[in-house]
Amino acid sequence: MDAAAPKNRFTPREFWAWISEVFDNYGILILAGLLLVYPFFFSALNDSIIWLEDNDWEATAEVVAEVRGFVPSTPLMIQILIYTLFGVAFNILLGNTGMLSLGHCAFFGVGGYTVGIMHAWIKPGTYAPDWMVNAFKVLPLEISLITCIIVSTFVAWLIGTICSTKRGVYFAMVTLSISMIFYYSAQTFDDLTGGTDGLGGLENMRLGSIGLRVGIMDANITYYFVYILSVVFIAAIWQVLRSPFGHVLRAVRENENRARICGYNVAKVRLMAFTMSGAVSGVAGALAIIYGETVPIENIHFITSGQIVIITLFGGAGTFLGPAVGSFIYWYLRQLMSVEFVKYLAIFQYWEAWVGGIFVLIVLFVPSGILGTIRNMTLEYREKKLLNRKAVAEALAKNADDETAADTE
């Protein structure tokens, strides 16, 4: 190799900038591809342990099994997918419209309870009329999911209307308060919702139209069910955010007053964003109860709102894929803490304390989140490259001028 040839001199910063550029452009596809094959990977890992044991490689099998403890399992990936969807929906507000809602647990919970209540109570011998029972027998999950979308859209619209007179931190306070009405209702009407024990005994978790049984029986099938729905809704949100409406959202975030004077009905835009965000959050909530086949009351508690804020902030509120990164790190860490770390230190069983503490640290020290920080680096890097290019171009132009000047003389 020629010594004078410029080597590939990537500083770490430039390396990250490059990664981020690739991620910006192809991140969604890369992520979707990786997630598509993930269950195969995890099954292969499981199978390899069995194969090693069968072939008397016990020591190796033990090592691999130990390693598997640090690899996210398929059920954990289901959780990560769901919270990615939830986070992307939440980010319509926080990252794009600049609204801080601390009441998203309401939609998450209402979505879950809608599906849960339908699967628990639509059966012979309850208040449900016969036609409903019969229809539900045929297409159970289809009906409950569509109902869930309708209900959560309505709830989001209703809460949005009530809170629409408020802005900024006051909006956060009002949404939190309003969301807790659902928590206390779930506690109060425990005949229907199972109260603090959560709602169990869900039946008929299957897609009648294609005869697919999802739920706790098969993590892989549930994974792909969740995967497809998440991808569809995330893609829809992606389109909305790049549409003219998405630009209006960012205009409202940047300068509400200017957006209004430009002729946008800001209140309506905010309500629309809130409703969309809430509706998709409801779907995420419905998906969240499908694998476990129970509705834990924690889903509707404001700690769930806290989780989604932390996931979005940690990943990067201003970025589209931030919630995916945040969701992965959050759930992976939480799993490690409560399963692996806790073996060595009892302190790790107090995960809420960890969540809260890390939350505060993130707000203080990485306010733009992981992807946000990387993106800022990229912008700096691009700026520098642009300036360099400009300088070179100017120098060349100057040279050319000089030469022509010399020629004419």
Partner: protein
């Protein structure tokens, strides 16, 4: 309230209980208002600090003083020391955590998020230190008697004590806010946050004091309510939301708002269970009579409905300033 199946004494008893509950809401809502008024931060950790105050009070009284000086002295020392401890804690917290976000981008969101993080952190942290089960906290012997007792009416000494203490505190706060320089700045901040900055006063110290004061109020309320209920890590959750409701209904940015709002909502909350025992029969959509059980539990939900109605019909709250906090 038509007192069909309800005895008059029972009605008065509920009024009394409502007054007790309302007093606590007033105290917490005022603490919240003061911090918000000056710093523009809604303290989502208010309930958590209230809970922490109760635990600190428990430790001071049960582990330190009661064994040596008896339960009365233990309680009194707890009541006196918790505000001081919490005041110091609040100042330290403001100095080393909250002050970091001043003048950063989105400082208000950051402030809210930090306090929200604390409201998730503190309950579990308390479980870590004090264990998962709640702690019993007895009414000190000197308050274990009734001022007035007939039939179902029982005006207990301790509850009366909390009402009187709360009233004194509210009066002191009124003096602080309307008669002192600090209060002038809090009010100025309520009207116009930048104005206080422009005045060129040592703002950071004022903010630290104010934050400490709000936290001290929360902690004091916590230790005062402890003998009425057991001390528990989740005790701050419901009351935080209720405090928010009081502030929304009463109106932020006024002194009278949280006071009146707290008292009205306290009565509403206490009287709702009586509805189930009046002669009026309420049915649900399936025709089943909604019994007393339901009304016992409906109090909490009714508060939310009141808030929603207020937000829709009068967004600034009963006594709030127009347009100041939307």
């Amino acid at each position: 309230m038509a007192a069909g199946g309800v005895e008059f004494s029972e009605f008065v008893q509920h009024l009394f209980l409502g007054l007790v509950q309302g007093s606590f809401w007033v105290l917490l809502a005022l603490g919240l208002s003061i911090i918000f008024g000056l710093m523009g931060i809604i303290n989502f950790g208010h309930g958590a600090f209230y809970m922490l105050g109760a635990y600190v009070g428990f430790t001071v009284s049960d582990l330190i003083f009661s064994p040596f000086l008896g339960p009365n002295a233990g309680f009194i020392v707890a009541l006196a020391s918790v505000p001081i401890v919490m005041f110091a804690l609040g100042m330290v917290f403001e100095r080393y955590v909250i002050s970091r976000i001043y003048n950063t981008e989105n400082e208000r969101f950051s402030g809210v998020l930090i306090m929200f993080g604390m409201s998730i952190f503190l309950p579990d942290f308390v479980r870590l230190l004090w264990g998962r089960p709640g702690k019993p906290f007895n009414i000190p012997p000197m308050f274990q008697f009734s001022l007035f007792k007939t039939g179902t009416l029982d005006i207990t000494a301790y509850r009366s004590f909390t009402i009187i203490t709360a009233a004194i505190l509210v009066a002191l706060l009124w003096v602080l806010i309307y008669k002192t320089n600090l209060g002038m700045m809090i009010r100025a901040g309520t009207n116009n946050n930048t104005m206080v900055k422009v005045l060129g006063i040592n703002v950071s110290r004022i903010w630290r004091l104010t934050f400490g004061l709000g936290i001290a109020l929360a902690g004091f309320s916590g230790v005062m309510i402890a003998p009425l209920f057991a001390v528990d890590a989740t005790m701050g959750e419901l009351i935080l939301v209720q405090t928010f409701i009081v502030v929304v209904v009463g109106g932020m940015g006024s002194f009278i708002g949280p006071v009146i709002g707290g008292l009205i909502l306290g009565q509403l909350w206490a009287l709702t269970p009586l509805v189930g025992r009046t002669q009026y029969v309420v049915q649900n959509w399936t025709g089943t009579v909604i019994g007393p059980d339901f009304w016992e539990k409906a109090s909490d939900i009714l508060l939310f409905i009141v808030m929603a109605v207020i937000l829709l019909l009068r967004p600034r709250g009963l006594f709030g300033q127009e347009g100041a906090f939307d």
